[in-house]
Amino acid sequence: QQQVKQSPQSLIVQKGGISIINCAYENTAFDYFPWYQQFPGKGPALLIAIRPDVSEKKEGRFTISFNKSAKQFSLHIMDSQPGDSATYFCASCGDGNEKLTFGTGTRLTIIP
């Protein structure tokens, strides 16, 4: 089974700092790379997504960096806030978003 490897498993960042979560994928046919944010008791919610035709996408404080040759992508959260404390999942898929393969998740905690 094609995997998506995510690191770190957990991350503690001070308020105002930069949170960085990394993912690596195996399947070169993947062409859609979303990040999901999940709060306790809730379903995953789409945060930001990128396609491999660009190397970076920014939406507010959230940025995805994408390295096609290395088959890696990362999420950067600038000016991290306590409200960002959640579990973050990277995911990948191809063929029109039919089946997402998720990473193992990163529990992010932002401390004051």
Binding site: Y32, G43, N97, E98, K99, G103, G105
Partner: protein
């Protein structure tokens, strides 16, 4: 904002019993999915459904599982004879056509005792 709704939020059942998990996808969406998340682990794809038939399923989705869209609004997941290892959070998701994003419900926590 329209959302995917799932009922019940928590279901407890005994091993060997049948359970039906219910979902109401977003009304104009065309593609429907079930995913599951065992406690503390990653979210795993189970099945996708389009045009009243299964379009793809994972190896987890064996003969004990079935899906149905009995009317224009509901989408159900049935587990025929539950096992202890079926205990997980089950998420329904839906999306519009093309490369539209996936919208997840808040899940049903299934506990098999």
């Amino acid at each position: 904002e329209p959302e995917v709704t799932q009922t019940p939020s928590h279901q407890v059942t005994q091993m060997g019993q049948e359970v039906i998990l219910r979902c109401v996808p977003i009304s104009n969406h065309l593609y429907f999915y079930w995913y599951r998340q065992i406690l503390g682990q990653k979210v795993e794809f189970l099945v996708s459904f389009y045009n009243n038939e299964i379009s793809e399923k994972s190896e987890i989705f064996d003969d004990q599982f079935s899906v149905e869209r009995p009317d224009g609004s509901n989408f159900t997941l049935k587990i025929r004879s539950t096992k202890l290892e079926d205990s997980a959070m089950y998420f329904c998701a839906s999306r519009d056509g093309g490369y539209s994003p996936l919208h997840f419900g808040n899940g049903t926590r299934l506990t098999v005792t």
